[in-house]
Symmetry: C2
Subunit: 267 residues, 2 copies
C-alpha cells in the first residue's frame, strides 16, 4: 500500500485506528474453542465487526508463534482475510545481519504479504536495509516504546540526544516517508511535540492506548500532521472488550467509539 | 540444559563449536529437493555428520519463516531431531513488551523446547524478564554484533561507555551466569579483552567465524575463561562446505577441522 492510498483510507473512514490482533487463545470466548481454528475464527469475526471503522490491522506474531505450526497457519489465514483496503502490519520486531534480514523481509512481504513489518534497530543499517528494498512495503522501526523498559536504553543520553532520538534521526536517512514509519508509544505523550520536530512528515505507529493507558486526545493534539501521520493501535481494549458470545459486537462498539473520537480530531 | 551440563559436553568433546543451521533452501544440494521436506532432510544429515564434534546447534529462525508454514514445520522437526546432549539455540532475536515477550518465551521454550533464545535488548528490562523466568533455559542477549551496522548504535558513546557496554552491564544484573549469555561478534576481536573485564564469567555466543571472517584463534586467546565460556558459531562455512551429494561429508570434514583447532586452545 502506498502512502497516498493509506491517507485516502484515513480520509474516507475518518479514522486512523489500527486494531491489534493480539489473539491470546487463553482469552478468547470459550464457545470458539470447538472451531477447527479458534484463533482464526475469532480474528475473522473481529475483522468483520471492525473493518468499517479502522484503516489497519496489526498482527502481533508472538501470539501466533506461541501456538506453533497451528498459530503460523492462523496468522497466514488472518492476513489473507483482511480486506486489501486495510494496511496490514506484522508486529514482529525482527532485525538481524543483512543476509538474515533479507529472509525476514521475504517471510513477511513475499510469503505472508503484509504491507509492513516492525523492526528493532539495535543492529543498525544493514539490519534494516533489506526491508526497505521492497516497493510499496513499509519498515516500521522501534523509536520510543510504551513499556517501562524504555528507560533502560531508549531514553539514555547519547551525546547531545537520547538514544531513541539518535535512532529516529539516523534511520530516517535510510528511507523516506514513503517506506518508513516509527513506533512511538502513546504513554510518552510528553515527547510527541519534540518527536514531530525531528520527524515532521513521517507516519507514526502509536501503541499503548487502551490497556496501557495512553491518551488518544493528547497524542492526536500533539502529533497529528497535515496527512494525519498517525496510526493509533488498540489491541486488548477492543478485541477483548466483551468476553462472551457478544465479543464481536462489543469489539465493534468499542472500535466505533475510538473512530468517533478520532473523527473529531481529524481536520 | 544447565551450565554444568554444557561445560561437561565441552570437556567431553574438546569442542565449543556451535553449528548454525541457516538452511537457505536455495543453497541446499538439488538432489534433496525431491524429499518431502528438503530443509529437514538437509538438517538431519548435517546433524548426523557433525554431532560428534560440536556441542550446540543454532537455528536461525529467519531461514524457516521465509518458507512459511512448511518452514516452521521443518524447524520443529529439526529441533526435535537434535540430540539432548546438544545445546539448542533459537536465533530469533525477539523482544517486546512484557506480556508479548512472555508469548515468545512460550513459543521457543515450551512449544519448540529450545534451550536458549537470542534477544534484542533495545526495549529494556521487561522485554527480557519473561525469558529469564524459565528454569534451565537461557536468554542470549545481543551485545556487540558482527555486522557493519554495529557502528550505528551499539558502538555509540553513552556517557562514559559505549551502548553495547551499557547493555552488557545493565542486562547482566537481570539474571546470572546460569541463565544469561551475550552475543559478541567474532569480527570484534579487539574488544574481547575489555568485554571479559565486564563479564568475566558469562558464556559468550560468538558468531562471525567463517564466512564473516572472524579469527577463531584470536577470539579463543582473548576471551576463553576457566569454564571455556565460549560457544563459537559457524554456519555457512560448515553447512555449505560442499555443494553436492557430498555435502554432509564436507560439513563433517570442516566441523572436524574447527573441533581440532578448538581442542588445542582448551586447557
Amino acid at each position: 500500500m502506498t502512502k497516498e492510498e493509506l491517507i485516502a483510507q484515513i480520509r474516507l473512514k475518518k479514522s486512523y485506528l489500527c486494531v491489534g490482533l493480539d489473539t491470546d487463545i487463553t482469552k478468547i470466548p470459550r464457545h470458539l474453542l470447538s472451531h477447527a481454528d479458534p484463533v482464526f475464527e475469532f480474528n475473522r469475526q473481529i475483522i468483520d465487526a471492525t473493518k468499517a471503522c479502522c484503516v489497519s490491522y496489526k498482527i502481533n506474531t508472538a501470539f501466533y508463534e506461541s501456538q506453533g505450526i497451528k498459530g503460523w497457519d492462523a496468522m497466514e489465514k488472518t492476513v489473507n482475510y483482511i480486506p486489501s483496503t486495510h494496511f496490514t502490519i506484522a508486529d514482529a520486531k525482527r532485525g538481524d545481519i543483512g543476509n538474515t534480514s533479507a529472509q525476514y523481509a521475504k517471510a513477511f512481504f513475499d510469503v505472508l504479504r503484509f504491507d509492513a513489518v516492525t523492526i528493532a534497530p539495535y543492529m543498525g543499517e544493514d539490519s534494516v536495509r533489506p526491508f526497505l528494498e521492497y516497493k510499496n512495503k513499509w519498515s516500521i522501526v522501534l523509536g520510543l516504546t510504551s513499556n517501562s523498559g524504555a528507560k533502560d536504553f531508549e531514553l539514555q543520553q547519547v551525546g547531545e540526544e537520547k538514544l531513541y532520538e539518535k535512532v529516529l534521526q539516523t534511520v530516517a536517512k535510510w528511507g523516506s516517508t514513503e517506506n518508513l514509519m516509527f513506533v512511538i508509544g502513546a504513554t510518552r505523550a510528553d515527547e510527541f511535540i519534540h518527536i514531530r520536530k525531528i520527524l515532521p512528515n513521517h507516519f507514526l505507529l502509536v501503541p499503548g492506548v487502551g490497556s496501557q493507558g495512553g491518551s488518544l486526545k493528547e497524542i492526536s493534539e500533539k502529533a497529528m500532521n497535515k496527512d494525519c501521520g498517525l496510526l493509533v493501535n488498540v489491541s486488548r481494549a477492543i478485541i477483548f472488550a466483551g468476553g462472551e458470545e457478544n465479543f464481536a459486537e462489543e469489539a465493534k462498539h468499542t472500535a466505533e467509539q475510538y473512530q468517533r473520537e478520532m473523527s473529531t480530531y481529524l481536520k
